[in-house]
Amino acid sequence: MKKYIGQQVRKLLTAFLLVPALASAADGHSIALQGGGNQAAMPCVACHGEGLRGNPELVAPRIAGLPEDYIAKQLRDFNAGSRHNEQMQAVARALTQDEIAAVAKDFSVLPKVNVLADMPLRPAPDTAAWLDMRGAWERNIPPCTSCHGSNGMGIGNAFPPLAGQSAAYLKAQLHAFKNAAKNEKPNRKKQMAAATKRLNDPNGLMRHIAASLTDAEIKMLAEYFSAWAVSDEPIAPNRVFLK
Protein backbone atom coordinates (compact mmCIF):
# COMPACT_ATOMS: atom_id res chain seq x y z
CA MET A 1 0.00 0.00 0.00
CA LYS A 2 2.78 2.42 0.95
CA LYS A 3 4.56 1.73 -2.27
CA TYR A 4 1.32 2.19 -4.16
CA ILE A 5 0.73 5.56 -2.54
CA GLY A 6 4.31 6.56 -3.26
CA GLN A 7 3.82 5.79 -6.92
CA GLN A 8 0.58 7.72 -6.94
CA VAL A 9 2.21 10.74 -5.34
CA ARG A 10 4.94 10.84 -7.94
CA LYS A 11 2.46 10.36 -10.76
CA LEU A 12 0.11 13.01 -9.45
CA LEU A 13 2.78 15.51 -8.55
CA THR A 14 3.95 15.31 -12.13
CA ALA A 15 0.41 15.69 -13.40
CA PHE A 16 -0.26 18.64 -11.13
CA LEU A 17 2.89 20.52 -11.89
CA LEU A 18 1.86 20.48 -15.52
CA VAL A 19 -1.29 22.40 -14.69
CA PRO A 20 -0.15 26.02 -14.42
CA ALA A 21 -3.29 27.35 -12.71
CA LEU A 22 -2.84 24.93 -9.85
CA ALA A 23 0.93 24.90 -9.72
CA SER A 24 1.07 28.65 -9.30
CA ALA A 25 -1.86 28.83 -6.88
CA ALA A 26 -1.89 29.76 -3.21
CA ASP A 27 -1.32 27.89 -0.01
CA GLY A 28 -4.12 25.34 -0.33
CA HIS A 29 -2.73 24.09 -3.60
CA SER A 30 0.75 23.69 -2.25
CA ILE A 31 -0.67 21.66 0.65
CA ALA A 32 -2.49 19.51 -1.92
CA LEU A 33 0.77 18.83 -3.73
CA GLN A 34 3.40 18.91 -0.99
CA GLY A 35 1.51 18.45 2.24
CA GLY A 36 1.17 20.70 5.27
CA GLY A 37 3.82 22.23 7.47
CA ASN A 38 3.66 19.16 9.67
CA GLN A 39 4.84 16.12 7.69
CA ALA A 40 1.98 14.02 9.03
CA ALA A 41 -0.29 16.13 6.81
CA MET A 42 0.46 14.24 3.62
CA PRO A 43 -0.13 15.79 0.21
CA CYS A 44 -3.88 15.55 -0.46
CA VAL A 45 -3.38 14.37 -4.04
CA ALA A 46 -1.68 11.24 -2.73
CA CYS A 47 -5.05 9.76 -1.88
CA HIS A 48 -7.63 12.09 -3.39
CA GLY A 49 -6.17 11.82 -6.84
CA GLU A 50 -5.44 14.08 -9.73
CA GLY A 51 -7.35 17.34 -9.54
CA LEU A 52 -8.63 16.05 -6.17
CA ARG A 53 -11.31 14.18 -8.09
CA GLY A 54 -11.16 11.21 -5.75
CA ASN A 55 -9.69 7.72 -5.85
CA PRO A 56 -12.17 4.84 -5.55
CA GLU A 57 -9.44 2.28 -4.86
CA LEU A 58 -8.52 4.13 -1.68
CA VAL A 59 -12.16 5.01 -0.92
CA ALA A 60 -10.96 8.61 -1.01
CA PRO A 61 -13.69 11.06 -2.05
CA ARG A 62 -13.60 13.79 -4.61
CA ILE A 63 -12.90 17.07 -2.77
CA ALA A 64 -12.65 19.33 -5.80
CA GLY A 65 -15.51 21.81 -5.88
CA LEU A 66 -17.05 20.82 -2.56
CA PRO A 67 -18.39 23.79 -0.57
CA GLU A 68 -15.71 25.66 1.39
CA ASP A 69 -17.59 25.41 4.70
CA TYR A 70 -18.22 21.72 4.14
CA ILE A 71 -14.53 20.94 3.58
CA ALA A 72 -13.46 22.97 6.61
CA LYS A 73 -16.12 21.34 8.76
CA GLN A 74 -15.04 17.82 7.76
CA LEU A 75 -11.43 18.56 8.68
CA ARG A 76 -12.45 20.06 12.02
CA ASP A 77 -14.74 17.09 12.64
CA PHE A 78 -12.00 14.56 11.82
CA ASN A 79 -9.88 16.46 14.29
CA ALA A 80 -12.59 16.45 16.95
CA GLY A 81 -13.43 12.80 16.30
CA SER A 82 -17.05 13.19 15.22
CA ARG A 83 -16.05 11.80 11.87
CA HIS A 84 -13.95 8.65 11.99
CA ASN A 85 -11.20 7.70 9.57
CA GLU A 86 -7.74 6.78 10.75
CA GLN A 87 -5.80 8.39 7.90
CA MET A 88 -7.89 11.53 7.72
CA GLN A 89 -7.91 12.01 11.48
CA ALA A 90 -4.12 11.91 11.45
CA VAL A 91 -4.00 14.41 8.60
CA ALA A 92 -6.57 16.74 10.15
CA ARG A 93 -4.72 16.76 13.45
CA ALA A 94 -1.53 17.74 11.66
CA LEU A 95 -3.11 20.69 9.88
CA THR A 96 -3.19 24.14 11.45
CA GLN A 97 -6.40 26.17 11.47
CA ASP A 98 -4.92 28.42 8.78
CA GLU A 99 -4.06 25.44 6.65
CA ILE A 100 -7.59 24.08 7.02
CA ALA A 101 -9.02 27.44 5.98
CA ALA A 102 -6.64 27.60 3.00
CA VAL A 103 -7.39 24.13 1.63
CA ALA A 104 -11.14 24.61 2.13
CA LYS A 105 -11.05 27.87 0.21
CA ASP A 106 -8.79 26.73 -2.58
CA PHE A 107 -10.40 23.32 -3.13
CA SER A 108 -13.90 24.77 -3.19
CA VAL A 109 -13.11 26.84 -6.28
CA LEU A 110 -11.89 23.82 -8.24
CA PRO A 111 -14.48 22.61 -10.79
CA LYS A 112 -17.75 21.38 -9.27
CA VAL A 113 -19.50 18.30 -10.58
CA ASN A 114 -22.34 18.68 -12.99
CA VAL A 115 -24.66 16.00 -14.35
CA LEU A 116 -25.67 17.05 -17.82
CA ALA A 117 -28.38 14.42 -18.37
CA ASP A 118 -31.86 14.95 -16.95
CA MET A 119 -33.21 12.56 -14.36
CA PRO A 120 -35.72 9.91 -15.32
CA LEU A 121 -39.17 11.21 -14.44
CA ARG A 122 -40.75 7.82 -13.81
CA PRO A 123 -38.62 5.71 -11.47
CA ALA A 124 -39.62 2.08 -10.95
CA PRO A 125 -40.56 0.98 -7.42
CA ASP A 126 -37.87 -0.77 -5.34
CA THR A 127 -35.02 0.88 -7.20
CA ALA A 128 -32.41 3.39 -6.11
CA ALA A 129 -34.01 5.91 -8.47
CA TRP A 130 -37.27 5.46 -6.56
CA LEU A 131 -35.57 6.16 -3.24
CA ASP A 132 -33.83 9.14 -4.79
CA MET A 133 -37.00 10.69 -6.20
CA ARG A 134 -39.81 9.33 -4.01
CA GLY A 135 -38.13 8.22 -0.79
CA ALA A 136 -39.75 5.69 1.51
CA TRP A 137 -41.96 7.83 3.70
CA GLU A 138 -43.43 4.84 5.51
CA ARG A 139 -39.95 4.60 7.07
CA ASN A 140 -39.50 8.39 7.28
CA ILE A 141 -36.99 8.36 4.46
CA PRO A 142 -37.40 11.50 2.35
CA PRO A 143 -36.33 11.44 -1.30
CA CYS A 144 -32.56 12.06 -1.63
CA THR A 145 -33.38 14.87 -4.06
CA SER A 146 -35.23 16.80 -1.36
CA CYS A 147 -31.92 17.64 0.34
CA HIS A 148 -29.12 16.81 -2.10
CA GLY A 149 -30.95 18.40 -5.01
CA SER A 150 -31.74 16.98 -8.42
CA ASN A 151 -29.12 14.73 -9.99
CA GLY A 152 -27.37 14.42 -6.63
CA MET A 153 -25.55 17.67 -7.28
CA GLY A 154 -25.65 18.86 -3.70
CA ILE A 155 -26.79 22.18 -2.30
CA GLY A 156 -25.42 24.76 0.09
CA ASN A 157 -22.82 24.05 2.72
CA ALA A 158 -24.47 21.13 4.44
CA PHE A 159 -25.62 18.81 1.64
CA PRO A 160 -22.64 17.65 -0.41
CA PRO A 161 -22.79 16.44 -3.99
CA LEU A 162 -23.34 12.69 -4.35
CA ALA A 163 -22.68 12.79 -8.07
CA GLY A 164 -18.98 12.54 -8.72
CA GLN A 165 -18.32 10.29 -5.74
CA SER A 166 -17.43 6.61 -6.07
CA ALA A 167 -19.77 3.81 -5.04
CA ALA A 168 -17.11 2.65 -2.55
CA TYR A 169 -17.02 6.03 -0.83
CA LEU A 170 -20.80 6.57 -0.77
CA LYS A 171 -21.35 3.08 0.57
CA ALA A 172 -18.76 3.58 3.30
CA GLN A 173 -20.36 6.87 4.36
CA LEU A 174 -23.89 5.50 4.51
CA HIS A 175 -22.63 2.60 6.62
CA ALA A 176 -20.70 5.01 8.85
CA PHE A 177 -23.86 7.06 9.43
CA LYS A 178 -25.81 3.89 10.02
CA ASN A 179 -23.21 2.55 12.46
CA ALA A 180 -23.31 5.81 14.37
CA ALA A 181 -27.10 5.78 14.47
CA LYS A 182 -27.15 2.25 15.85
CA ASN A 183 -25.09 3.41 18.80
CA GLU A 184 -24.06 -0.17 19.36
CA LYS A 185 -21.68 -1.19 22.08
CA PRO A 186 -19.58 -3.98 20.60
CA ASN A 187 -18.16 -6.65 22.91
CA ARG A 188 -14.60 -6.31 21.79
CA LYS A 189 -12.47 -3.26 21.21
CA LYS A 190 -11.47 -4.58 17.82
CA GLN A 191 -15.04 -4.56 16.60
CA MET A 192 -15.50 -1.03 17.83
CA ALA A 193 -12.57 0.14 15.77
CA ALA A 194 -13.85 -1.71 12.73
CA ALA A 195 -17.23 0.01 12.85
CA THR A 196 -16.33 3.35 11.31
CA LYS A 197 -18.74 5.98 12.49
CA ARG A 198 -19.82 9.34 11.25
CA LEU A 199 -21.66 11.58 13.66
CA ASN A 200 -21.08 14.97 12.08
CA ASP A 201 -24.23 15.43 9.99
CA PRO A 202 -26.16 18.59 10.92
CA ASN A 203 -29.07 17.77 13.23
CA GLY A 204 -28.44 14.06 12.72
CA LEU A 205 -30.37 14.27 9.45
CA MET A 206 -28.35 11.64 7.61
CA ARG A 207 -27.87 9.28 10.55
CA HIS A 208 -31.61 9.26 10.99
CA ILE A 209 -32.11 8.21 7.36
CA ALA A 210 -29.18 5.79 7.12
CA ALA A 211 -30.50 3.97 10.18
CA SER A 212 -33.61 3.05 8.19
CA LEU A 213 -31.80 2.02 5.00
CA THR A 214 -31.13 -1.68 4.49
CA ASP A 215 -27.65 -2.82 3.49
CA ALA A 216 -29.04 -3.75 0.09
CA GLU A 217 -30.47 -0.25 -0.36
CA ILE A 218 -27.16 1.30 0.65
CA LYS A 219 -25.35 -0.73 -1.99
CA MET A 220 -27.99 0.11 -4.58
CA LEU A 221 -27.90 3.86 -3.82
CA ALA A 222 -24.10 4.01 -3.83
CA GLU A 223 -23.97 2.37 -7.25
CA TYR A 224 -26.80 4.54 -8.57
CA PHE A 225 -25.20 7.86 -7.65
CA SER A 226 -21.72 6.83 -8.73
CA ALA A 227 -22.97 5.71 -12.14
CA TRP A 228 -23.90 9.20 -13.32
CA ALA A 229 -21.61 10.60 -15.92
CA VAL A 230 -20.31 13.83 -14.47
CA SER A 231 -18.65 16.81 -16.01
CA ASP A 232 -16.71 19.81 -14.73
CA GLU A 233 -18.88 22.15 -16.78
CA PRO A 234 -20.48 24.76 -14.48
CA ILE A 235 -24.18 24.36 -13.65
CA ALA A 236 -26.12 26.86 -15.75
CA PRO A 237 -27.89 29.32 -13.42
CA ASN A 238 -31.06 29.15 -15.53
CA ARG A 239 -31.17 25.35 -15.66
CA VAL A 240 -34.52 23.93 -14.56
CA PHE A 241 -34.64 20.59 -12.78
CA LEU A 242 -37.93 18.71 -12.96
CA LYS A 243 -38.86 16.38 -10.14
Binding site: R134, W137, G156, N203, F241
Partner: protein, 309 residues
Protein backbone atom coordinates in the same frame (compact mmCIF):
# COMPACT_ATOMS: atom_id res chain seq x y z
CA UNK B 1 -72.75 25.98 22.51
CA UNK B 2 -74.82 24.07 25.03
CA UNK B 3 -72.64 23.51 28.13
CA UNK B 4 -73.68 19.88 28.31
CA UNK B 5 -72.56 19.23 24.72
CA UNK B 6 -69.35 21.10 25.37
CA UNK B 7 -68.64 18.86 28.35
CA UNK B 8 -69.54 15.79 26.32
CA UNK B 9 -67.08 16.78 23.59
CA UNK B 10 -64.33 17.29 26.15
CA UNK B 11 -65.05 13.85 27.59
CA UNK B 12 -65.09 12.29 24.13
CA UNK B 13 -61.80 13.92 23.21
CA UNK B 14 -60.19 12.88 26.45
CA UNK B 15 -61.45 9.35 26.08
CA UNK B 16 -59.84 8.99 22.70
CA UNK B 17 -63.18 9.02 20.89
CA UNK B 18 -62.23 12.24 19.18
CA UNK B 19 -61.48 10.44 15.94
CA UNK B 20 -64.98 9.09 15.73
CA UNK B 21 -66.38 12.51 16.46
CA UNK B 22 -64.25 14.17 13.82
CA UNK B 23 -65.05 11.50 11.26
CA UNK B 24 -68.82 11.62 11.73
CA UNK B 25 -69.51 15.30 12.18
CA UNK B 26 -67.86 16.40 8.98
CA UNK B 27 -67.67 20.15 9.12
CA UNK B 28 -69.59 21.23 6.07
CA UNK B 29 -70.41 24.67 7.38
CA UNK B 30 -67.10 26.41 7.02
CA UNK B 31 -63.93 24.95 5.62
CA UNK B 32 -61.80 28.05 5.70
CA UNK B 33 -60.17 26.52 8.71
CA UNK B 34 -60.57 22.95 9.78
CA UNK B 35 -61.54 21.85 13.26
CA UNK B 36 -58.74 21.00 15.65
CA UNK B 37 -57.53 17.54 14.88
CA UNK B 38 -57.52 14.65 17.29
CA UNK B 39 -54.34 12.95 18.42
CA UNK B 40 -52.44 11.37 15.54
CA UNK B 41 -50.80 8.69 17.64
CA UNK B 42 -51.54 5.18 16.37
CA UNK B 43 -53.87 6.66 13.80
CA UNK B 44 -54.40 4.63 10.65
CA UNK B 45 -54.63 6.72 7.51
CA UNK B 46 -56.07 6.18 4.08
CA UNK B 47 -53.52 4.83 1.61
CA UNK B 48 -53.73 6.40 -1.84
CA UNK B 49 -53.17 4.10 -4.82
CA UNK B 50 -49.62 3.19 -5.83
CA UNK B 51 -48.14 5.01 -8.79
CA UNK B 52 -47.72 1.72 -10.65
CA UNK B 53 -51.48 1.12 -10.69
CA UNK B 54 -52.13 4.18 -12.82
CA UNK B 55 -53.45 2.98 -16.21
CA UNK B 56 -51.58 3.74 -19.41
CA UNK B 57 -54.41 5.51 -21.16
CA UNK B 58 -55.70 9.06 -21.63
CA UNK B 59 -56.86 9.22 -18.01
CA UNK B 60 -53.50 8.02 -16.71
CA UNK B 61 -51.80 10.58 -18.88
CA UNK B 62 -53.91 13.42 -17.46
CA UNK B 63 -53.25 12.26 -13.90
CA UNK B 64 -49.50 12.20 -14.60
CA UNK B 65 -49.69 15.72 -15.98
CA UNK B 66 -51.49 16.78 -12.81
CA UNK B 67 -48.79 15.18 -10.69
CA UNK B 68 -46.10 16.91 -12.75
CA UNK B 69 -47.80 20.29 -12.19
CA UNK B 70 -48.10 19.48 -8.51
CA UNK B 71 -44.38 18.93 -7.97
CA UNK B 72 -43.00 21.32 -10.60
CA UNK B 73 -45.60 24.07 -10.36
CA UNK B 74 -43.20 26.95 -10.86
CA UNK B 75 -41.37 25.33 -13.77
CA UNK B 76 -44.44 24.01 -15.64
CA UNK B 77 -47.06 26.67 -14.86
CA UNK B 78 -45.00 29.86 -14.45
CA UNK B 79 -47.84 32.00 -15.81
CA UNK B 80 -49.84 31.24 -12.64
CA UNK B 81 -47.06 31.22 -10.05
CA UNK B 82 -45.78 34.50 -8.63
CA UNK B 83 -43.27 33.06 -6.19
CA UNK B 84 -40.80 30.18 -6.02
CA UNK B 85 -43.05 27.56 -4.48
CA UNK B 86 -44.49 24.29 -5.74
CA UNK B 87 -47.66 22.64 -4.42
CA UNK B 88 -45.53 19.79 -3.05
CA UNK B 89 -43.71 22.16 -0.66
CA UNK B 90 -46.68 22.18 1.72
CA UNK B 91 -48.37 18.95 0.56
CA UNK B 92 -45.50 16.53 1.14
CA UNK B 93 -44.89 13.24 -0.65
CA UNK B 94 -46.61 14.56 -3.76
CA UNK B 95 -49.86 15.25 -1.93
CA UNK B 96 -49.98 11.81 -0.35
CA UNK B 97 -48.81 12.46 3.21
CA UNK B 98 -51.28 12.46 6.09
CA UNK B 99 -51.29 15.66 8.18
CA UNK B 100 -49.63 17.50 5.33
CA UNK B 101 -52.96 18.47 3.74
CA UNK B 102 -53.11 15.36 1.54
CA UNK B 103 -55.11 15.66 -1.66
CA UNK B 104 -57.01 12.45 -0.91
CA UNK B 105 -58.51 14.01 2.21
CA UNK B 106 -59.44 17.25 0.46
CA UNK B 107 -60.92 16.23 -2.87
CA UNK B 108 -63.92 14.39 -1.44
CA UNK B 109 -64.91 17.35 0.80
CA UNK B 110 -65.88 19.72 -2.01
CA UNK B 111 -68.07 21.59 -2.93
CA UNK B 112 -67.99 23.30 0.45
CA UNK B 113 -68.77 26.66 1.96
CA UNK B 114 -65.71 28.74 2.89
CA UNK B 115 -65.92 31.80 5.02
CA UNK B 116 -62.72 33.00 3.38
CA UNK B 117 -64.63 33.99 0.23
CA UNK B 118 -68.13 33.62 1.67
CA UNK B 119 -69.47 31.19 -0.87
CA UNK B 120 -69.72 27.54 -1.73
CA UNK B 121 -66.46 26.60 -3.44
CA UNK B 122 -65.94 23.84 -5.96
CA UNK B 123 -62.67 21.92 -5.73
CA UNK B 124 -61.40 23.96 -8.68
CA UNK B 125 -62.25 27.17 -6.83
CA UNK B 126 -60.44 25.86 -3.77
CA UNK B 127 -57.33 25.30 -5.89
CA UNK B 128 -57.73 28.77 -7.40
CA UNK B 129 -57.38 30.03 -3.84
CA UNK B 130 -54.05 28.18 -3.59
CA UNK B 131 -52.77 29.94 -6.70
CA UNK B 132 -53.97 33.36 -5.53
CA UNK B 133 -52.50 33.14 -2.04
CA UNK B 134 -50.06 30.27 -1.51
CA UNK B 135 -48.50 30.67 -4.95
CA UNK B 136 -48.93 34.47 -4.85
CA UNK B 137 -49.96 34.14 -8.46
CA UNK B 138 -52.60 34.51 -11.09
CA UNK B 139 -55.72 32.38 -10.82
CA UNK B 140 -56.00 29.77 -13.60
CA UNK B 141 -59.46 29.39 -15.13
CA UNK B 142 -61.50 26.50 -13.73
CA UNK B 143 -61.36 24.75 -17.11
CA UNK B 144 -57.67 25.50 -17.67
CA UNK B 145 -55.42 22.56 -18.46
CA UNK B 146 -53.52 22.98 -15.19
CA UNK B 147 -56.61 22.85 -12.95
CA UNK B 148 -58.20 20.03 -14.93
CA UNK B 149 -54.99 18.01 -14.61
CA UNK B 150 -54.59 18.81 -10.88
CA UNK B 151 -58.22 17.80 -10.33
CA UNK B 152 -57.64 14.50 -12.12
CA UNK B 153 -54.58 13.83 -9.96
CA UNK B 154 -56.51 14.62 -6.77
CA UNK B 155 -59.44 12.47 -7.90
CA UNK B 156 -57.19 9.52 -8.63
CA UNK B 157 -55.32 9.82 -5.31
CA UNK B 158 -58.73 9.76 -3.61
CA UNK B 159 -59.76 6.43 -5.18
CA UNK B 160 -61.82 4.68 -2.50
CA UNK B 161 -62.31 7.65 -0.15
CA UNK B 162 -66.00 8.10 0.69
CA UNK B 163 -67.53 11.40 -0.45
CA UNK B 164 -68.14 14.07 2.22
CA UNK B 165 -66.59 12.03 5.02
CA UNK B 166 -63.77 13.80 6.80
CA UNK B 167 -60.65 11.64 6.70
CA UNK B 168 -58.12 11.36 9.53
CA UNK B 169 -54.93 13.08 8.38
CA UNK B 170 -56.82 15.90 6.63
CA UNK B 171 -55.24 19.34 6.82
CA UNK B 172 -52.33 19.78 9.19
CA UNK B 173 -53.68 18.37 12.48
CA UNK B 174 -52.75 21.51 14.37
CA UNK B 175 -51.53 21.09 17.93
CA UNK B 176 -53.35 23.27 20.44
CA UNK B 177 -51.73 26.58 21.27
CA UNK B 178 -49.43 26.01 24.25
CA UNK B 179 -50.47 27.35 27.62
CA UNK B 180 -48.97 30.80 27.96
CA UNK B 181 -49.06 31.34 24.18
CA UNK B 182 -46.16 31.34 21.78
CA UNK B 183 -42.79 33.01 22.04
CA UNK B 184 -41.03 34.37 18.95
CA UNK B 185 -37.71 34.73 20.75
CA UNK B 186 -37.71 31.03 21.51
CA UNK B 187 -38.96 30.46 17.96
CA UNK B 188 -35.84 32.19 16.67
CA UNK B 189 -33.68 29.83 18.72
CA UNK B 190 -35.54 26.79 17.38
CA UNK B 191 -35.20 28.16 13.85
CA UNK B 192 -31.48 28.71 14.22
CA UNK B 193 -30.82 25.26 15.63
CA UNK B 194 -33.18 23.17 13.48
CA UNK B 195 -34.16 25.04 10.29
CA UNK B 196 -31.29 27.15 8.94
CA UNK B 197 -29.31 24.19 7.57
CA UNK B 198 -31.93 23.87 4.84
CA UNK B 199 -33.89 27.12 4.67
CA UNK B 200 -31.03 29.52 5.46
CA UNK B 201 -30.79 32.12 8.22
CA UNK B 202 -32.70 34.56 6.01
CA UNK B 203 -35.50 32.03 5.35
CA UNK B 204 -34.92 32.43 1.64
CA UNK B 205 -34.43 28.74 0.87
CA UNK B 206 -31.75 27.34 -1.44
CA UNK B 207 -31.67 26.40 -5.09
CA UNK B 208 -29.61 24.58 -7.70
CA UNK B 209 -29.69 26.26 -11.09
CA UNK B 210 -33.11 27.89 -11.36
CA UNK B 211 -34.89 25.29 -9.24
CA UNK B 212 -35.46 25.60 -5.52
CA UNK B 213 -34.59 22.56 -3.41
CA UNK B 214 -35.50 24.14 -0.05
CA UNK B 215 -38.48 26.50 -0.34
CA UNK B 216 -38.36 30.14 0.76
CA UNK B 217 -40.31 30.56 4.02
CA UNK B 218 -40.73 34.31 3.87
CA UNK B 219 -39.77 37.22 1.66
CA UNK B 220 -40.86 38.01 -1.89
CA UNK B 221 -40.53 34.43 -3.15
CA UNK B 222 -42.77 32.84 -0.51
CA UNK B 223 -46.55 32.59 0.03
CA UNK B 224 -48.41 35.85 0.57
CA UNK B 225 -50.21 37.28 3.59
CA UNK B 226 -53.49 35.76 2.43
CA UNK B 227 -52.27 32.14 2.35
CA UNK B 228 -53.52 29.73 5.00
CA UNK B 229 -49.92 28.99 5.95
CA UNK B 230 -49.52 32.57 7.24
CA UNK B 231 -51.58 31.47 10.24
CA UNK B 232 -49.31 30.47 13.07
CA UNK B 233 -51.64 27.63 14.06
CA UNK B 234 -51.60 26.17 10.53
CA UNK B 235 -47.83 26.49 10.15
CA UNK B 236 -47.40 24.95 13.60
CA UNK B 237 -49.39 21.91 12.44
CA UNK B 238 -47.31 21.50 9.31
CA UNK B 239 -44.05 21.94 11.20
CA UNK B 240 -45.06 19.66 14.05
CA UNK B 241 -45.79 16.69 11.79
CA UNK B 242 -43.33 17.17 8.96
CA UNK B 243 -40.33 19.28 9.95
CA UNK B 244 -37.39 18.87 9.91
CA UNK B 245 -37.93 16.74 6.82
CA UNK B 246 -37.80 13.07 7.79
CA UNK B 247 -37.79 13.99 11.48
CA UNK B 248 -41.46 14.90 11.89
CA UNK B 249 -42.87 15.00 15.41
CA UNK B 250 -39.42 15.62 16.86
CA UNK B 251 -40.34 19.17 17.96
CA UNK B 252 -42.63 19.73 20.93
CA UNK B 253 -45.99 21.43 20.33
CA UNK B 254 -44.57 24.56 21.92
CA UNK B 255 -41.45 24.53 19.74
CA UNK B 256 -43.64 24.08 16.66
CA UNK B 257 -45.79 27.06 17.66
CA UNK B 258 -42.81 29.22 18.58
CA UNK B 259 -40.95 28.58 15.35
CA UNK B 260 -44.14 28.96 13.29
CA UNK B 261 -44.63 32.38 14.91
CA UNK B 262 -41.03 33.32 14.18
CA UNK B 263 -41.40 32.35 10.50
CA UNK B 264 -44.75 34.11 10.19
CA UNK B 265 -43.65 37.38 11.78
CA UNK B 266 -41.44 38.04 8.76
CA UNK B 267 -42.60 40.02 5.76
CA UNK B 268 -43.98 38.30 2.70
CA UNK B 269 -45.94 39.49 -0.35
CA UNK B 270 -48.96 41.62 0.50
CA UNK B 271 -52.42 40.10 0.89
CA UNK B 272 -53.96 40.50 -2.58
CA UNK B 273 -57.24 41.42 -0.85
CA UNK B 274 -55.65 44.59 0.60
CA UNK B 275 -58.43 47.17 1.02
CA UNK B 276 -57.57 50.70 -0.18
CA UNK B 277 -53.94 50.15 0.71
CA UNK B 278 -54.97 50.01 4.36
CA UNK B 279 -53.44 47.24 6.46
CA UNK B 280 -55.71 47.90 9.44
CA UNK B 281 -58.90 47.66 7.38
CA UNK B 282 -57.57 44.50 5.75
CA UNK B 283 -56.67 43.05 9.12
CA UNK B 284 -60.16 43.71 10.49
CA UNK B 285 -61.93 42.23 7.52
CA UNK B 286 -59.74 39.25 6.65
CA UNK B 287 -57.34 38.47 9.48
CA UNK B 288 -59.00 39.31 12.79
CA UNK B 289 -60.92 36.05 12.86
CA UNK B 290 -58.56 33.94 10.77
CA UNK B 291 -56.88 31.77 13.36
CA UNK B 292 -53.74 33.07 15.05
CA UNK B 293 -51.75 35.44 12.86
CA UNK B 294 -49.64 38.57 13.08
CA UNK B 295 -50.97 40.48 10.06
CA UNK B 296 -51.53 44.09 11.02
CA UNK B 297 -50.07 43.53 14.47
CA UNK B 298 -47.23 45.63 15.88
CA UNK B 299 -44.35 43.43 17.07
CA UNK B 300 -41.34 45.04 18.74
CA UNK B 301 -42.52 48.42 17.48
CA UNK B 302 -42.82 47.30 13.85
CA UNK B 303 -46.11 46.94 11.95
CA UNK B 304 -46.30 43.46 10.45
CA UNK B 305 -48.06 42.93 7.12
CA UNK B 306 -46.49 45.69 5.06
CA UNK B 307 -45.64 43.20 2.33
CA UNK B 308 -42.48 42.84 0.26
CA UNK B 309 -41.57 44.91 -2.76
Amino acid sequence: MNPFIKKLIVILLLSGAGNVLAATSSNLNDQSQLAKAPSTKDQVYFKPPAEATLPNNAFGELVRRGEAYFVNTKALAPQYVGNELNCVNCHLDRGRMANSAPLWAAYSMYPAYRKKNNKVNTFAERMQGCFKFSMNGVVPAADSEVLVALTAYSYWLSSGVPIAREQPGRGYAEPAQPAGGYNVENGKKVFESRCVTCHGADGAGQKVGASYVFPPLWGKDSFNWGAGMHRINTAAGFIKHSMPLGEGNSLSDKEAWDVAAYVNMHERPQDPRLINGDIEQTRKKFHAEDGVNLYGVIVNGVLIGQGTK
